[in-house]
Structures are given as structure tokens and as C-alpha cells.
Symmetry: D2
Subunit: 399 residues, 4 copies
């Protein structure tokens, strides 16, 4: 790894290591797999190119892959890389680089360096690495890989269709992600973040959840379970009927804008909370987005209606509107379950499931790539079932 600039100090690495320790001790599935990989070394002689958010939970995944014999060459997402974790991983001989302060150019350079290292397996995110190999004409040297996101899967099935000669297993399409992460873990982290950031009472409060997909229904269920009064906006009639039969008020945003006190978006689509609706809200409405992209709340539109803007505490921002009322925006419209002081993100166990999908899919690629069709494909059913069984056992569900 000497080709990378050595910037991590021992102190930073120690701090990162301390943060990883608690998480590692609670990832029961990866802990068992670590032992198996140590014995069986499925990645011996393999170099895995990684593009993945670098934080304490991913660190445990990378450790386990390394334990399985992989040489890791990786980088994070732009702007979210945690320097202490980079330092910690490098101290373990795991080749990640990049830092939170990187410019976009730096980030692209980092991706290029991953490809320069000539990986033969990819752990990809948004199909960035896959596209890079196509561009360089080196895709043929890749035996296969995984793709973390649905949007990366769409890219593989879209613009990259026919150009990627290797199998790419799309992790986010696994039913275990919908069950374990999108519904329960996102629901949990959203309600935790709402309470942690705002300190507002949930019981009796009127919430409008925009979107009744897997994430939206987890959020709605948990808010209601804590005593919140929850209404749903959903454009798909079938999902809207599900919400109504689940006991929610289901109404157009125009009806709910003056009614709700808190609006949480969870659609993945742009502009679902437009300026017009914000203008109709009651004084003091709180707006938060739980979706991956920052586009669900029309912040520009909001700003255009605003007389004065006040930062309340770095995470909450008050907008005094020209109409004489004010609204409070959480985390500038970014995914607020990772915002504020001391955010924890999705629960450790939900990420244990998600990273087991990664680790076992990469193992399948390493050992049986020839048996897999080229291109984007779902996680093999036997892997889903093995993880479900392991999780049930780890949870002690039968007790």
C-alpha cells in the first residue's frame, strides 16, 4: 500500500478503531463468516476494487473480506469519507484512501487509482467502477462483482447493457434489504433522528409522510406506534389503498399541507414537497427528507419565498416566509437520518444483513463466476435464504 500517501496518524487510527469495536462486537453474522473466511480463504490471490461509503460499519465488511484473503483497493463516496476509519483501515493493511475534505476532482482521482490497481473483482456503488472499466476497455479483466444500489443496477441494465461482460450481483434488490433495512432500519433511524434532532414530542403530533413505499411505511408505522397521528400522501393508487386499509388518513398534499405539523419525504423522487405546498403550511411546520437524494423538498423554491433565514443549531434552519409564517427545515433537505450531532445511521444488525449479502455475493463471484450470467442480476436465492436462517438464529427468534 506504499503507493498511497501516508496521512493517517496513529491517533486517528486508534479513534477509528475504538468506534469500530462496538459495532464489530454486534455484527454476529459477519463475525461467524470471518471465522469461515479465515479457514477457507475464498479471495486468496484476488484484488477487490471497492467504492463504498467509508464509515465504521463498512470497516467491518472490509476486514472480513481481507480475512478471506482479499487484497482491498478502495475509496469512499464523495464528501462522506470518515478520516479516522480510513486511518484505522490502513493501519490494518486494508488499502482505502480518500478523505472527507476531498474535492470532486480528488474523488475522481481516487476512483481512477482504484482502477489503476487492476482489481479483478468489484464492490461497486452506482456502477462507477464498472463504467470506469468500460471506459478504459479493461472490463474483460474483471471476473465479476457486486453493485450496492438499485440505481447502479438500473445503469448496468441501461447505458451499460451489453458492455459489461462480467456478472454483477445487485445487492439492494434482495428481499432482505427491503425487509431488514428499508422498512425496519430506516423507520427506526428516522424516528430516532427526529427525536434526537428536534426534541419534539411525538405523541399526539400530526405527521405527513410523503410516500408509502418500504421506507415510508416503516416510518409511518413507527411514528404512529409512538403515538403520532400520521397521514400519507401517495400517488400510486394501490399503495394508497394499502395505507388507507392500514388505518392512515390518505389525502392529497394540498389537503394535508395546512393540517400536518411535520412533513417527512420518502419517495426517491424530486420535488414531492414543492414550494406551493410549503406556502400553505401552518406556522412552524417542520420539513425533513429521509430519501437518499436531497431533491425531495424544493429548497430553492422555499428560499424564493423566504424573507429571512436563521440557522438554529447547525441542523435546524428557520425560514421566515413572505406570507408571515415560518417553517423549519431539517438538514437542508438532505437525508436527515444521518444528520445532526452524533447520528448513528441504520442499526448495526440491519447492516450486518446488508454486508452479509455483499460478502457472500462476492464469495460466489470469486468461486463460481463462470456459473453466473453476465450483467446485472439478483442475489442468488440460496444466499438470501442462508442469511435469513443465520439472522433468525442470531436473533434467537425461537426463544
Amino acid at each position: 500500500m506504499t503507493q498511497f500517501p501516508e496521512t493517517a496518524t496513529a491517533a486517528l487510527a486508534a479513534a477509528g478503531g475504538a468506534r469500530v469495536a462496538w459495532i464489530r462486537s454486534r455484527m454476529a453474522l459477519l463475525a461467524a463468516l470471518r471465522e469461515e473466511f479465515r479457514r477457507e480463504r475464498p479471495f486468496a490471490g484476488r484484488r477487490i476494487g471497492v467504492s463504498l461509503h467509508i464509515e465504521p460499519k463498512t470497516a467491518v465488511l472490509l476486514e472480513v473480506l481481507a480475512e478471506g484473503g482479499a487484497e482491498i483497493v478502495g475509496t469512499g463516496n464523495h464528501g462522506s469519507t470518515q478520516d479516522d476509519i480510513v486511518a484505522f483501515l490502513r493501519g490494518q493493511g486494508i488499502g482505502v484512501f480518500g478523505s472527507r475534505a476531498d474535492t470532486l476532482d480528488d474523488h475522481h482521482a481516487n476512483l481512477a487509482r482504484v482502477l489503476d490497481a487492476r482489481p479483478d473483482i468489484l464492490l461497486d456503488n452506482g456502477a462507477d467502477l464498472a463504467a470506469g472499466t468500460v471506459e478504459r476497455g479493461t472490463a474483460g479483466a474483471i471476473i465479476g462483482g457486486t453493485e450496492e444500489t438499485t440505481s447502479g443496477g438500473d445503469r448496468l441494465r441501461g447505458e451499460l447493457m451489453g458492455k459489461v461482460p462480467f456478472p454483477s450481483i445487485v445487492i439492494n434488490d434482495s428481499p432482505l434489504k427491503a425487509i431488514g433495512e428499508n422498512k425496519h432500519a430506516v423507520g427506526q433511524s428516522v424516528v430516532e433522528s427526529f427525536m434526537r434532532i428536534t426534541n419534539l414530542m411525538v405523541p399526539g403530533r400530526r405527521f405527513c409522510v410523503v410516500g408509502y413505499g418500504w421506507c415510508g411505511r416503516g416510518i409511518a408505522q413507527y411514528l404512529r406506534a409512538l403515538g403520532g397521528r400520521v397521514a400519507i400522501v401517495e400517488v400510486d393508487e394501490i399503495k394508497a389503498l394499502e395505507a388507507a386499509l392500514d388505518g392512515y388518513r390518505v389525502a392529497p398534499l394540498a389537503d394535508l399541507a395546512p393540517w400536518a405539523e411535520v412533513f417527512i419525504t420518502a419517495t426517491g423522487r424530486p420535488g414531492v414537497l414543492p414550494a406551493e405546498a410549503i406556502g400553505a403550511m401552518a406556522d412552524g411546520a417542520v420539513l425533513a427528507n429521509s430519501g437518499h437524494f436531497s431533491w425531495e423538498i424544493d429548497v430553492d423554491g422555499l428560499r424564493s419565498m423566504t424573507r429571512a433565514e436563521t440557522d438554529l443549531d447547525g441542523t435546524l434552519r428557520r425560514f421566515d416566509l413572505a406570507n408571515g409564517r415560518h417553517v423549519v427545515l431539517v438538514a437542508d433537505g438532505r437525508m436527515f437520518n444521518l444528520a445532526g450531532v452524533a447520528p448513528k445511521g441504520n442499526s448495526i444488525e440491519s447492516m450486518d444483513i446488508g454486508f452479509m449479502l455483499q460478502a457472500l455475493s462476492l464469495q460466489r463471484v470469486a468461486l463460481s463466476a463462470a456459473g453466473l450470467a453476465p450483467g446485472a442480476q439478483p442475489v442468488p436465492d440460496d444466499i438470501n435464504r442462508r442469511i435469513a436462517r443465520a439472522m433468525l438464529a442470531a436473533m434467537g427468534a425461537a426463544r
Copy 2:
């Protein structure tokens, strides 16, 4: 309709009519469709052959089809036909026949008479009429139809594949059935029936629900919501993990047999409550089946372990086992949400949805059969969406 023996008395018809009135007044979707059909007469000149459970709710569907111009020629399922409803419908000029006392031979004769009437559209159940036309070589005269059940759909895609030249829309495969009926309505009717038949307390009681499909999860959710302590048996690992993350104990039946006080099966599969498990149950365990078929509880096996059998009230039956304990079987292992005194079955509104699927699918067949592929097929998406929108409006979900 004079070819049918006239057995219905005016009194019987009046009794049936009274039972239909309340239901008709609460089927808002069919009520609106009735007006539309009256104006547009989509079935004018059509004869619809019907094989469907004959009870007050189906009566409303048949009325609406008749209002749309259809001539109805139909019969019920064996053993469940309600004579007052037959009398009532015949009094309205709707041609149904058969009676509860019919033998199996009578039932087959009734089905034959439906086909003898040369219908051009079928409202089928278990593909009995479709198979009959194939056997008679008259399938070519049918322009299309609907099939109520998934098992009928399987039959069309199995033994009848390629032999049925007309389109058959399989109602039970619509997402609205899973949402509106299998989860919510079955869940509601099962908890209502448990309370009505046994008069036992739900709060704090230990239930074992066998099966975590749509029906099982509705049952589990409602029992828990009423204060029951619910554990799940589920052989599919993915569904089992869902159950565990939904907060249920999930364990093998062998673990739960001595723990639970009430066992409810909802799998659709035979023998899921075998004699061996029954022998391990605690004294006084209550056994009930909510699935369509009577085979989920091994009643023969239970009987073979029994020293003495006592009828408690016609619906509850006590079995004193050779092991010194006793169990109580509900409704002889038949679908118990239609058992006991004064059963009501699924809620009126859930059947309003189900019969809207029938009525609009039959309309599609009547008006656009040529645009449909032959064989079993799902309900057209636009019909699902139209009904979802209508139901949201009828529920006043936005209020």
C-alpha cells in the same frame, strides 16, 4: 327460466331479500356500478354462466350483472348454497338453482345445466365450467370469462393449458385481493370468529399462528393488537425473518406446541398441525383452521389418539387424548371463520372490492374480448387502479 323447477317459496325469497338489503346498502362500489351498467348495458344479449358460492354478498354481484343486461345461468358450490338467496334471486329473474341439500350428483347435474344453457361468458370457480366446455367441445363458443380462485388459475395454466381458447381473468391474483381481502378481511373475520365462537379472552392469551402469508400476517397482527401474545411457525426463511422483525417469536411447531394455548392454521397446505404436535400440546389447547381446505389440521390423526370425543356446542368439540390431556377442535378443522352460530364471513366492503374485480373484468371480456390473449391472465392493471381509486373515495380516506 321456466326450465328450472320452481321450488322457492315467496316467504323464503322475502327472507333472503331482507338479508341482502343491508349488504347491498353498504356495497358502495357496486351501487355506483349498478347505475353505470343500467345506462350502458355492457352485457346486453350476453348469457353469463356462473359457478360461485351463493350467499347474500354474491347476490348483489349477480343483481348488478343482471342490471348490465346479462342473462344469468348459475349454480353454487356444493354444500354451501343458501336456499333463501336462491329463492330471492329467482324471484328477481336471476337464474340460479341448486340447494343446500344437494348431493354431489345433484351438484354435477347443476353444473351441467349451466353449460346446457350455452352461456357465452363464464364466471368460473375452480375452472369447473371451463373444464366442462373443454370436455363437451364447446369451449369455442365462449368469448371469455373470469376465474375466482388461484387454484382455478393453476388448473387453466396446467391441465387445461392450450385447451381453453378464450381469455380467463384470474380474480384472486389481483393485488387488491391480497390487500383488501386476504390480509385485512380474513384477519378481521378470524379474530371475530375466535371471540364469537369461544368467548375466550384474547388479551394475554398465547396464540400460535401457522403460516405467515397474507392471511397469517393479518391474523397475527390483529390478535396481537387485541393483546394476544402471538408466535409464528413459518417454513419459508424469508417470511420467517419478516415475522421476527415484525416482533413475533418465530419457532418450530415442536417448540410452540407445549407453549401456545390456541393454534390457528393459515397455510393452505395439508397436515401442518400433525398428530405428533397435538400430542405435545398443553391441556385444553384450542385448534382452529382458517385456510380454505379442511386438511391443515390432521383430524384423523387426532382422532386416532383420542379416548373420548364430546360435542360441546356444535362448533366446539372436545377430544380427550390417551395421554390424559384434552384439546378442543373448532368446526371440525374446517375454515372456522365461516363456522358457528351467525357467521358473517368477510366484511361487506372487502367483498365489494372483490366483486368489483369480477364485474369490471366481465365487462372487459364482454366489450373487448378480442383484445385479450387466450388463457389465464391477471386482472388488467387499469381495472385494479380504477377500483383502488373508487375504494379510497368510498372510504373517505382523505377526510
Copy 3:
């Protein structure tokens, strides 16, 4: 018992006995007490005068008291006596009389005959027997007794204050009644009765529960748990705030009248659903009362606004109003959880708790009347605790 006319036939007694058998087999607390009473005979030589609703569950209580050595002389409430149970009890040598067809004069004569028999302990209801002894000047011959109702307790502390020289333990004031019966059992029986009688869907339906006392909150909790959208009317500000923090919409009846689809009263007070509110309801609103008295819904006022009245099925009655809309009244405004075909009333186990309070309080009177103060008093704390422990054990709460 030969002084009573012998009207019960063997067939009637057998029918009553069959109805009692299932209930007796599920009253675990009374079953254990029966064994204890058989050994210890706490009532040996005592005659207990009884005024209590006569139905299958009370039969088990009376059997247990008889097993404890008591001679029973009793009668039921006016209009609710179940003749088969009278016949069954008399066949067991338990002296109850009266019949459902009794006139009010007959009922008063029955009460007189109970007092004529010179009981020395009273199991009273509404303080009718206690008042009778005061009137006759025979109260001095009573060593003590129990009073089932709070209103009877109020009477003892009001008009009868100082005139009743014996201790009377008021059963309904026990915390176990609020917990076991008023909240959970009434809640369960109300939702069961709503579904059984109306066959309407609960999920997504808009309910207005009038009253947030113990009964109202049980009803609200269970309806919401089944997917209902529930709003509360409550005049007491503190309880109203509890309801709001429990996540309910809490509003004046005037606001909710046009919103809700179903109105359920649970206040114990007259006229809480007045004609004015009924006139503001949406077409098709359903009105039901769960309180003990029939006065909560202003049926006379409703009638005065009505153009036409139609009996739908003996339990549901349609009122077409002068304003062009209609409402549906359940059970003529009487307590509807005991109405309709095949009502079961409160769960067996909840009555097991209630009758244990009776049996142990009567035992206390029989064995230690001298240690009790005269007049109305609560159930001794040790009796409440003994029953709570026994119920926890019977439920297997620790499993």
C-alpha cells in the same frame, strides 16, 4: 326448595347445562376455589340471598357457592333471566327462580320471596335486597354481603347510609374490575359485537368513541388496533389530554358528527349523543351504545326527526331522517355488546375474575364479618392480590 313452583323441564335443564359446561371448563380460578370450598365449607349453615343476572357464567358462581355449603335463594334481573339456566340450576338443587317473561310485578314478587327466605348473607345488585331488608326492618339479621355495582354502592353510601348495619363489599370498585373487565373485556366484546352484528370493515373506518373512561379507552384501543381511525369525545379535560397523548384526535362532538361513520357511546351518562348531533351526521352513520343504561343515545329525539323507520334484521334499524340522510341504530340504543344473534358478552376469563371477587368477598363475610366495618366498603386488598396472583398463574403469564 320445594316452596318454589316447579316449572323447569328436564330438557330445558339439559340445554342450560350444556351451555354451562364449556364456560365452567374455562373458569380456572373458580375451578380451584370449588375444590377449596368443597373441603372447607365456609358457608356451611348459611343462606345466601342472591340478586344477579342469571346466565351461564353466573351459574358457575352459584355452583361454587353451593359447593361451599351455602343454601342459595335467588332471582335475576328483570327481563334478562335465561330460563334454561334457571332450570339447570334448580336441577342442581340451587334455588333460583323467575323467568324471562316475568312482569315487573313478578320481578318484585321474586325479590320479596328471596327476602322471605330469611337469608343471612346477601349477594346484591343495585342494593335492591339491602333496601328491602331496611324496609322490612330485617337488616339486623344479615351478617353482611356483597354489592355488584357501583351504583348500588352509591345507594348504600347515600339514601341507605346509616341504615344498613352490616358490611357490604362493593365488587365493582375493585381495581381488578377496571383492569380485567371494564377495559379489556368490554373493549373485546364491543369490537366483536360491532363486527358480528354489522359485518362492516374495521380497517380504515372512521369511529367516534364518546367517553374516555376505562371502557372507552379499551374500545378505542382495540378499534384502532384493528385498523380503525378513531376520534374521541371527552368532556373531562384531563382524560381528553390523555386521549390526545395516546394519539387520538380529540374534538367536540359537533366537529366529529359529520366526520365519523360509526359512533359508540361509553360514558354512563344520558343524552351524550343528542338529536342535534345526529342531524349533523353523514348519510349512513351507525350509532351504538356500549354503556349499561339505554339513555346515552337520544332515541326519542332521533325518532322525532325521522320520516321512516325500517327494521333491517332485528338488531339494526334504519332511520330515514327529514334532512334526507339516514342513520342506522344498533340494538335500539341498548348495550349492544349483548345484542344481536348469539351474543357472548364479556370473555369467560374476565368473569372468572369478577366472580372470584364475589366468592372470596362472600367467604370473608361468612368467616369474618365481625372484623369488617358496617356499610359499603372496598374489596379487601389481600383478596384483590390473591386473585391477581391466581390469574397470573392461570394465564401462564411467566411462560
Copy 4:
């Protein structure tokens, strides 16, 4: 206020002010009262001696009292005073002093200085100020006051009985505290803190809640609502039966020790999680206390069984036991809903209710002390009802 050392810097005051701003903007009840007090000046000419936790929420209360004309002379609890809030308040001319670094001697000196200032009304905590006036013989100069805690109330009714000649209204005994704070707000902050501190999954996790009082039932309800599997330990039989009927497993700690994964104490009593139970727990059990006192978990006993102790992150501490298993203790057994990074404590609105009780009770004392009996007494009923009405309106419960 010049008699106090001026230590607060402007920067500190500004930081404190920023933290107060968001909270002030969300305390709707105090905001309205502030306007009323500004007009009516109920405390004009009065000096209020204050002993109360000094943090952002109390700052809003003190501002409102000052707005009502009061001169404030106060100090905080030992060890919890927030220096930026002291600085902020002093900058507003509100006389509070003390700092987080104070020794116990410093704290006592601070209390003495409050009394030296000769207040005529007390806002007391644990009856510390009341006891001080008795000791000094200056109690006669106090016209009345409030006492925040139940334990202070007990002290007034115990050792100080007959010695305190002025009325003291005990805030914590108000039903609004049980409803608004102990159940809902503590429940909310406990689940938020558990998720924030541990990042563990709640769905499917096995929790043991020790204590089923107001706090315990809020905690249990919310954990279960989020998908947790919750069991209860409760020594009082009546509360235990309530828990069982609410659908929880209720068992002795000895049964639950090896079953649960997380133990949360909420009893107010010492040693409810003794070393013996900890020794029986499964590997990795997490222990947390939500009660006010740090004595519920036997930390000394735990330590005596421990081979090695590791600080994980300042809030979580791992104890490797001599038996080969380990447990994780949260916040050293102190009230963990105020522990960890960025704790927020009870919701803003719940404290708005609590401080309205303070402000209106102090107003009653200021204006009508002569109408109040001396000694400890409950919040006047009209004050409770006024606040309940105001809160319902502020919540928009009717919408």
C-alpha cells in the same frame, strides 16, 4: 445581581441563548403565559428563591417568571448546572449562579446564598430551600412556594411536618405529570436514547423492563410498538396483572435473566437488578437504568464479578465476567435517558406542561397564598384543568 461573581463571558451567554431559542419557540403554553404575565405582573415586588436543574428548558421558565415581575435568585442541582445557560440567564438579569465544576461545598454555599437573598417565594427541589428556612428560623418570611419532586413532598409531610408554616404546592403529584411526562415523555426519551447510544436494532429484540409504573409502561409500550419483544418484571400483583392483560410476558427476573438481551430498570427502588441476576444473563446483555437514582442496577456487585472492564465509548462500558460471559452497562447505571453524546432529555412540550404547573402554582401562591393551607398540597384542580385545556388547544387535538 452584582453580589455574584461575574464569570460568564459573552460568548458563553450567546451559546446558551442559541440553545434556548429553539426550545422557547416550541413552548407554546409558556409563550402565551409570558404575554399574560407581562401585562399582569403577578410577581411584582416578589423575590423567588429557586433550586432547580439549570438547563435550556428551565431557562424558559425563569424568563417567564421574570417577565411576571419576579426577581429571581437561584441555583441548580449539584453537578448538572450548564454553564452557558447560567451565563445566558445572568446576561438577561436573571440571578442564577453556580457552575458544573462546583464541589458539594460550593453547592451548599450556593443554596445558602439563595436564602441570604431573603426570597419570599420558593421554587424548591427536594425541599432543600424549605429545610434551610426552617433551620435558619426564617420560614415565617416565606409566603409560599412550589416543590418539584415527590420526594421533596414526602420530606415536607415527614421530617418538616408542622415546621413549614407556608403552603408548598407539590408539582410532581399533578396527574398531568404522570400523563404528560412520566409515561409519554420518559418512554419517548428512553427509546430515543437506547437507539442513539447503542445503535442496536429494536425490531425483534428481547427486552426486559423492570417496573410497570407510569414510566415502565411507557417504555414497554414504545419498545413493543417499535417491534421489540418485551417482558415485564413487576412485584406488585395488580400492576403485574395489568401488564399481562396488556399482552406482555410477565415473569420473575430469574426467568427472564437468561432470556432478555436488554434490561431497563424503571422502579425508583435500589438493587432491582442484582448481581445474581446479572450472573445469569446471556453473553452480551445490555443493562440500562431509566430511574432518577443510580441505585437500581447493582454496579458494585457487578464489578465484584468482573475480570476486566473496558470503556467502549464513554457511555457504554463492557464488563467481562468471571463466568466467561460479558455484559454492557450504559452510563454507569445512571439515568441513561440523559446520557451519551447530545442527549436531549424529555420532549420540549412535556416540559412546557411541567413548567406551566410551576408558573401557575407560583402565581397562585403570589396572589392567593392566604387562601391556601400550610404545608405540602397538590396542584389546585383548576390549574391542572386550565393547562390540560391549553395543551389540547396547542396540540390542535381537534384537527
